[in-house]
């Protein structure tokens, strides 16, 4: 589904990504973790070309992301993305947030888009809030709407960039529950997150990044079960976040 081959990226002199190689297969849930500033957001954003890269190659269902001839809007419309700060469109009602891209990008009619949007809104438990605006919802609710908005495009894969780290602690679970359900239904997912409980529950693989490099890329069982076989950096990181 997603292949990342030897990707490197620089901001001027500063190398953010160094020779990153990994892959996400259909139906897999890959969790990406690592210290702040290690390049997790940058890596996940290269997948839908929100961040350009200078070396290497990324393929999404065989389509080369870095190829100048690739129709990026079309590619992005098939890749759902959920952001740390939700990024709902504040001037649009929840319903309009759910239907605008279906209509303007996919060319669906209003009724069809509305039908789909409301079904998904119901699925994330927010049907009663359809007429509200993003600013009238809590962070957790906004993030669930953001997930529904991405799903409305019928994506082949979902990217999450720290979807719960801007939330108050009591709202983290309502978002994780939606993500777990999605994973269990077989959605292909690439998730930057430090929620190790989520990783333990649904991850197929765990990637650990540090200073722009993929340091660990192994199955969930290897990652959590054989800590002694993990790198020093990964163990230090895990011991820090598992203390909480």
């Amino acid at each position: 589904m997603i292949q990342i081959n030897n990707v490197s990226k620089w901001y001027g002199e500063f190398q953010v990504l160094t020779d990153c190689t990994t892959e996400v297969k259909k139906g897999e849930v890959v969790v990406v973790c690592g210290p702040s500033g290690s390049g997790k957001s940058t890596l996940i954003k290269t997948v839908n070309a929100l961040e350009p890269f200078q070396k290497g190659e990324i393929l999404v269902e065989g389509v080369s992301v870095g190829d100048p001839k690739t129709n990026l809007p079309k590619l992005r419309s098939r890749v759902g993305m959920v952001f740390q700060h939700f990024e709902l469109f504040p001037h649009l009602s929840i319903t309009d947030n759910l239907i605008i891209a279906q209509m303007k990008v996919l060319g669906r009619g209003r009724d069809e888009a509305m039908d789909k949007g409301l079904k998904l809104l119901d699925r994330v438990g927010l049907k009663a809030h359809a007429h509200k605006f993003p600013g009238q919802l809590s962070g957790g609710q906004q993030q669930r709407v953001a997930i529904a908005r991405a799903l409305a495009m019928d994506p082949i894969v979902m990217l999450f960039d720290e979807p719960t780290s801007a939330l108050d602690p009591e709202m983290v679970n309502e978002v994780l529950d939606v993500m777990v359900e999605l994973a269990q239904e077989g959605m292909t997912m690439m998730c930057v997150t430090h929620e190790m409980g989520f990783a333990r529950k649904v991850a197929s693989r765990v990637i650990f990044m540090d200073r722009g490099q993929i340091v660990e890329d192994c199955s969930k069982d290897d990652f959590f079960g054989h800590l002694d076989a993990r790198s020093e950096r990964a163990r230090q990181f895990l011991s820090k976040i598992l203390q909480h």
Partner: protein, 248 residues
């Protein structure tokens, strides 16, 4: 000090040697002022928005050109721009076009005033639009693109609707400025409100300039007040429920 003979009804008097009344002159002046300012505002909004948007696009050369545009139109005094459009431009364009501009262009003073005032104000509008776009959380653009919108659609559906809302207050003051600035057009002979005021107080009613000036000032105030109310209404109608400005 000599005794000033107050006569508030001066504006209702007939202009000596004509069939007309002073209030008709003032009304005609007000009409030109409003027509000029409104037309120039439409031009300024369209051009200013375009330039403001271009200043924020990823392409460096495009953004640099837009910046140069703003600097030129913002920093040359309006009256100089007015003269350049009116007297100099016809000499620079192809001969036949120049002749047409000087001899047969309809409403030459009005047309020139609208263009000069419109482009001058567009530079200021551009700055406001750009500020509004840059004030949005950076993630909004990515969110639009990630949905599959093109860059154009992202501006159209995601960035601009919020950017314009944010800059309604500064745009209101630009909108009010354009009415005041339209008085500069008297320099090229547009018979707008200030032109009429000068004509009346200079040649026709030298005994009662204060009353005429007071009436004219009151008319400008009335216009400014109306603009303010209209913009406040627009601001209220477009207010986003629950939105706290500043974002995150």
């Amino acid at each position: 000090m000599s005794q000033y003979q107050w006569n508030w009804s001066v504006v209702l008097e007939q202009v000596s040697g004509t069939e007309e009344f002073y209030y008709q002159w003032l009304a005609a002046g007000l009409g030109w002022t409003v027509a000029t300012a409104l037309s120039a505002w439409v031009l300024a909004l369209v051009v200013g928005s375009l330039i403001g948007i271009l200043r924020t696009v990823p392409s460096k050369p495009v953004a640099a050109l837009a910046t140069a545009y703003v600097e030129v139109f913002r920093n040359i005094p309006l009256i100089v721009q007015m003269f350049l459009w009116f007297f100099v431009l016809p000499e620079l364009v192809p001969h036949n076009l120049g002749i047409w501009m000087k001899q047969s262009m309809p409403l030459p003073e009005f047309t020139t005033a609208v263009i000069a005032l419109g482009f001058f104000t567009s530079a200021r509008v551009a700055e406001q639009v750009r500020t509004g776009i840059l004030a949005l959380p950076r993630g909004q653009k990515n969110a639009g693109l990630a949905m599959g919108f093109t860059l154009g659609q992202t501006y159209r559906y995601v960035l601009l609707p919020m950017a314009y809302r944010i800059v309604i207050p500064p745009l209101t003051s630009e909108f009010m400025n354009i009415f005041k600035n339209s008085a500069v057009a008297l320099a090229i002979g547009l018979t707008e409100l200030t032109f009429q005021m000068r004509q009346i107080t200079g040649e026709y009613a030298p005994a009662n300039p204060i009353e005429v000036m007071t009436v004219v000032s009151a008319l400008y105030l009335l216009v400014a007040f109306s603009v303010n109310r209209v913009m406040a209404l627009i601001e209220r109608k477009t207010r986003v429920p629950g939105y706290i400005s500043g974002g995150h």
